[in-house]
Symmetry: C2
Subunit: 306 residues, 2 copies
Amino acid sequence: MASTPPKRLRDLGEDALISRILRGFPGGDSLTVGPGDDCAVVDPGKGRGPLRLLKTDAIVEGIHFLPETPSEKVGWKSVARVLSDFAAMGGKPEHLLVTIAIDQDRPVAWMDGLYRGIRKCLAKHGGILAGGETSRLPAGALISVAGEGSVERKHLTLRSTGQPGDIIAVTGRLGGSITGKHLSFTPRLAEAAWLVRHLRPSAMMDLSDGLAKDLPRLAAASGCSFQLDPAALPLTPGCTPQQALGDGEDYELFLTIPERHWKAASNNWPAAFPKLPLTPIGRLTDKSSRSTPLTGGWDHFNPSSH
Amino acid sequence: MASTPPKRLRDLGEDALISRILRGFPGGDSLTVGPGDDCAVVDPGKGRGPLRLLKTDAIVEGIHFLPETPSEKVGWKSVARVLSDFAAMGGKPEHLLVTIAIDQDRPVAWMDGLYRGIRKCLAKHGGILAGGETSRLPAGALISVAGEGSVERKHLTLRSTGQPGDIIAVTGRLGGSITGKHLSFTPRLAEAAWLVRHLRPSAMMDLSDGLAKDLPRLAAASGCSFQLDPAALPLTPGCTPQQALGDGEDYELFLTIPERHWKAASNNWPAAFPKLPLTPIGRLTDKSSRSTPLTGGWDHFNPSSH
C-alpha cells in the first residue's frame, strides 16, 4: 500500500525539501561542487589556480532577528553568515551582493543602521560590497546576501570527505546563541585559514542549525556514522549539553581530522588562538555502526522539531 | 532654513534610497563597475580575458507575482530577470544561486513547479543552477536569484557611457506586460550578443521599471539629457504611448548607438531577428538641454507615483 505523499513544506522538513530540489539540478562541467555543501565551487582555471566559491543566504525578520533588533546587528549578521560559509570551505570572501526586501513604512534610519553593520563586518573580516537590490515587501524585512569567495585548491575542505576514525572537533563554545551571539558572532575566517594549513581537516562545515542537525548531515555526506561524547561538548557558560546540541546559530567551525594530523598539530592551536578552544568531541565511524542518537536542532520548515 | 529630513522609505523613493546606500560603498581594486549598473563587474584577469558580471534580484509575492500565479511562471520570471541583466551588459549567464523564502504551509507541488520553471528557463537560455537556500517566511513568498555571468571585455556595455547625439532605440514592443509578458518574457541574450557585435551600442540597460523611469536613469548616468518621440514608441497592440512609457516590466533592451554605427548596421537587424522590431525612439542630447518630460514608471518604495 502506497503511503500518502507529503503535501506541505512543514510536513516535508528542510532536508527532504532540499533533496527534492536537488534531484532536478543538472550540474555542469564548470561546477566542481554543486548544491549540498556550504558553498558551490566553480573551477574557473580548469584545474589550475584558485577555486571560486558561491554562496547565498537570507535572514528574515521574525525568524532570524526580531523587529526590535538594532538594524546594525541585523546587517552584521546578514553578511557574517555568508563569511562563515566561506570559512567553512577553507576560503575567504571576495565580492558580495545584498538584496533587501522591506516594508515601505520602515524608517530610513533603520536602513542606514543595516548598512552600517554590513560595512563594519566587511571592514573587519574582508569582502567587498559589489552591489545589491532593494524591493518592497508587504510586511517585515528580509536580507539576502549572495557572494563569491575564493579558496586555494589544496585548502578546499568539503563536508563529504570525512573518513571513519577521524576525530570530530569544534571551535569555541556551543549553546545559548539566542542571548546575543547570533547577532554579533565572529565568522571564523582566520581560524579556518589556520586549520586548513596546519591541521588539514578531512571535512568541515559551519554550525548553523545546531550540532544535532549538522553532525548527522556531515556524517551522511561523508558516508560515515559517528560517536559523540556529550560530556566533552564545550559549553557556553550556563548551557546544558542538550542546549549545545540543539540551540543552533553557533557559527562555530565543526571539522573532522585524521588522527595523525591531530597528533601532529593540535598542540599548536592554543598559541595561535589563545582565547578560543578547539575541542575534540567524538569520532566518525564506519557507516555500518550505529551513530550516537541526537535530538534537537533547527529545521526551517518544521520548527516544532526544534 | 533646513528642510525636514525624509523619515520613511516611502517618502524617500527608490532612487534616493539607492543613492543613500551607495554613499557608504567603499569599492575595491578588483571592482571595475560597482553598484548602479545592471550588474557589478569584476576583473579577475587584471586587464586580460573576460570580465565577470555579478547580479542579484528578488521577486515578491503580491508585488511581482500573485498568490494565484502558476509557480512554474514564477520560477521562469525569477531567473529570466537576472538573465536579462546579464544581456543588458552585453554578457551571458554562468552560475546561479536561488534563495526561496516561503511560508511553511505552501504545498510542496508549488515548490516543484517553481523549480520546473527555473530549469526550463536555464535550459533554454543558458546558465547553471549552482546552489541556493530555503528559509521560512512568516507569510508569502520571495525568490531571490543571484548569479555570475561573463562578458568579453570589448563587449561590456554600461549605462553610463552614452554620448550626446547617440540614437536611442528599443527592442520589441512596450506596455501591457501585466497581461502576461512579465511572467513569460524572453531574456534578450541572443539579441544583446548580436547588438554588441554589430551595432556596438554606446550604452545599454534592460527595461524593468518602464522607459519613463529607466531612460532618465541611463541619461543621468551618462551625463546627458534626452529627446524622446512618443509617437515613435513601438506599442504592444492595444497600448497607449503612456502605457508604453509607464507600465514597466517590458524586459526589452534599451540602448544608445552612435549615429555612424546605426547607419552602418541597423539594416542588418531584421535578417537576424525577423520577428522583433528594433526601433529608434529619440536621441541623447547635451546635458544643458531640456529633456522630454516623462511621467510614470515603477518605484518600489513609492508605488503611488506609478
